[in-house]
């Protein structure tokens, strides 16, 4: 059984996975401590991780009805993410690995999001197209065997991630942090056609699988400011529904086009923004129309968690990939090319 530890942002996640099945998991979040700052403060997140890791390990074991003696390997997110937060998880993972005398695996955070879609017990088909969309990332990937094959990027965002657009647009609309769930909630009673927000990067000469969300963020701000200057109170529900529609439209349109272009019959949508109700609904609708099978993890596995990290570890072990050495370090900006992420110390000029 693999013990997975995830501390790349504000969630302390621990999961236990054996042969592709989640046996137990627990998550602690420092989100409430960040809310008044309008975003995650790395130092606050790192302080919270230090307090949470061992209790969350115990909670995951209790959830599974297992003990540390049942752990056969430890997997930890080595990047990308907040450096100071990643350091806490890696330190904990090394200590558990040494104390339990089991191998240690460093894994890529985004591969974890992809692996979350396998935790219903069903492996991903080879190949598949993955739309990974969160607060920090928006990419379309061509994935073969996640554990062994290089991951091909069909397109990425050229500026902001979709989740960042949700967070900042929420702010201009006066909705609290985190933006994603709050925009989703506010949009329920709104008219998605009320505000005509642009569909960025969908022109004939644009990169067909690339994304851009920075302009959409500005468009939301311009709209709200124009309304207020004209003496009208912005109708938040309509703006939220329209913004959400624009994001969901671009994401799903390009994802389905990528499947068609590569002759792939399965689309996997993962990451925190995959929890958005309109992204899920529109993906379902468009995949059904195109004859594409859609795989989206259950809501609780879309946001950061330890089970996804353990799931990658489990896949890597079954594929015979090598464990990390104990001088494993972190890579806060690692691009996703391999699910295994085991950066080694690099030669630095000697510190004084």
């Amino acid at each position: 059984m693999v013990l997975g530890i995830e501390t790349s942002c504000d969630e302390t996640g621990v999961g236990l996975v054996r042969d592709g099945v989640v046996l137990g998991q627990a998550v602690a979040s420092s989100m409430d401590e960040h809310a008044r700052f309008g975003g995650v403060v790395p130092e606050i997140a790192a302080r919270a991780h230090l307090h949470s890791v061992t209790p969350v390990v115990r909670a995951a074991l209790a959830d599974a009805g297992l003990t540390l003696a049942d752990v056969g390997a430890v997997a930890v997110t080595a990047g990308p993410g907040l450096a100071t937060a990643l350091q806490v998880g890696v330190a904990a993972a090394k200590a558990y690995a040494v104390a339990l005398d089991v191998p240690l695996y460093g894994v890529h955070h985004l591969a974890g999001h992809v692996a979350a879609a396998t935790l219903d017990g069903e492996p991903l088909p080879n190949p598949c197209v993955v739309l990974i969309v969160s607060g920090g990332h928006t990419s379309l990937l061509y994935v073969r065997d996640l554990a062994t094959d290089p991951i091909e990027h069909l397109g990425d965002t050229v500026d902001d991630a979709a989740g960042e657009c949700f967070d900042k647009a929420a702010r201009v609309l006066g909705l609290p942090y985190p933006g994603g769930p709050n925009v989703d909630r506010a949009a329920r009673g709104g008219d998605p056609a009320a505000v005509s927000f642009p569909r960025p990067m969908t022109g004939p000469r644009d990169d067909p699988f690339g994304f851009s969300f920075s302009g959409l963020k500005t468009a939301a701000a311009r709209w709200a400011e124009t309304e207020r200057r004209a003496g009208r109170e912005p109708v938040v529900a309509d703006a939220a529904a329209s913004l959400q529609e624009a994001i969901a439209d671009v994401l799903t349109r390009k994802a389905v086009a990528a499947c068609r272009a590569r002759g792939v019959d399965t689309l996997v949508v993962v990451g925190g923004v995959a929890a958005n109700s309109r992204v899920r609904a529109l993906a379902e609708e468009r995949c059904a129309a195109a004859g594409i099978t859609l795989r989206v993890p259950p809501l609780r596995l879309c946001t950061d968690n330890g089970a996804m990290t353990a799931a990658v570890g489990d896949l890597l072990i079954r594929a015979g990939r090598p464990p990390a050495s104990l001088d494993l370090t972190i890579d806060p900006s690692a691009p996703l090319v391999d699910a295994l992420l085991q950066p080694r110390p690099v030669a630095l000029p000697a510190a004084s």
Binding site: F37, R47, E225
Partner: protein, 220 residues
């Protein structure tokens, strides 16, 4: 008894093993940017050099700072997870206490200051009556701002060396050594002395500002 001691609150990534009567092995590497990479391999080396197994450990003593946060957390997270997995107690010791202990000074020699580098032109410091007795601190201040209170006192540690003009004299040890931390912890365990919980002594709040009011994107 087999006590594992380590500290990551200074540029030294330092580990020592104490069997209740003496320090049996140790591993110290100086690199302020590599606590996360060096600590656990250092622990493994210390155990191997002493020919002992992790399952024999009875206690962990960990320096709880004050010290730069990222490195400090590596030590404390490692101690907490090892303690959790091995089912053994984790004893927190103020890093400056271990530095003071290593000076071996007696009360006859008079009071002194232990100081480490707190960056941002400040030092983490404490004032001692002798190697075992802290009188004041730990605190974090500009060396010049505490000069009145510690004027005329000899100072020890890399923090004092950085601002030597603020102290009467400056001497080594430069960084804390886990061997001293281990000796001090074993002495406290035997004498029923008190330990700190395995919580970092940050001494500063996170640098985060609540954002100012909404700034319009479009010009008026």
């Amino acid at each position: 008894m087999l006590l594992l001691a380590f500290d990551t609150a200074t540029p030294a990534v330092t580990v020592a093993l104490h069997d209740g009567s003496r320090v049996v092995s140790g591993c110290t590497q100086i690199d302020a940017r590599r606590h996360g990479e060096l600590l656990v391999p250092g622990i493994v080396t210390a155990l191997a050099d002493a020919g002992r197994d992790r399952a024999e450990l009875s206690d962990i003593a960990v320096g709880v700072g004050p010290g730069p946060y990222t490195g400090l957390r590596v030590g404390l997270m490692t101690a907490r997870a090892l303690g959790d997995a091995l089912g053994i107690p984790v004893h927190g010791v103020c890093t400056l206490d271990a530095l003071a202990y290593a000076t071996g000074r007696t009360a006859d020699q008079g009071p002194f200051v232990a100081a480490t580098d707190a960056r941002r032109k400040e030092v983490y410091w404490a004032r001692y009556a002798d190697a075992r007795t802290r009188l004041e601190g730990p605190g974090v201040d500009r060396a010049a701002d505490i000069a009145d209170g510690v004027a005329g006192l000899p100072a020890f540690g890399a923090g004092a060396a950085l601002y030597a003009e603020s102290f009467a004299s400056v001497a080594g040890p430069e960084h804390v050594d886990a061997a001293a931390l281990a000796e001090l912890a074993v002495e406290r365990l035997k004498n029923g002395g008190e330990f700190l919980p395995p919580e970092p002594l940050y001494l500063r709040r996170p640098d985060a500002k609540v954002p100012a009011n909404y700034k319009p994107v479009t010009p008026n």
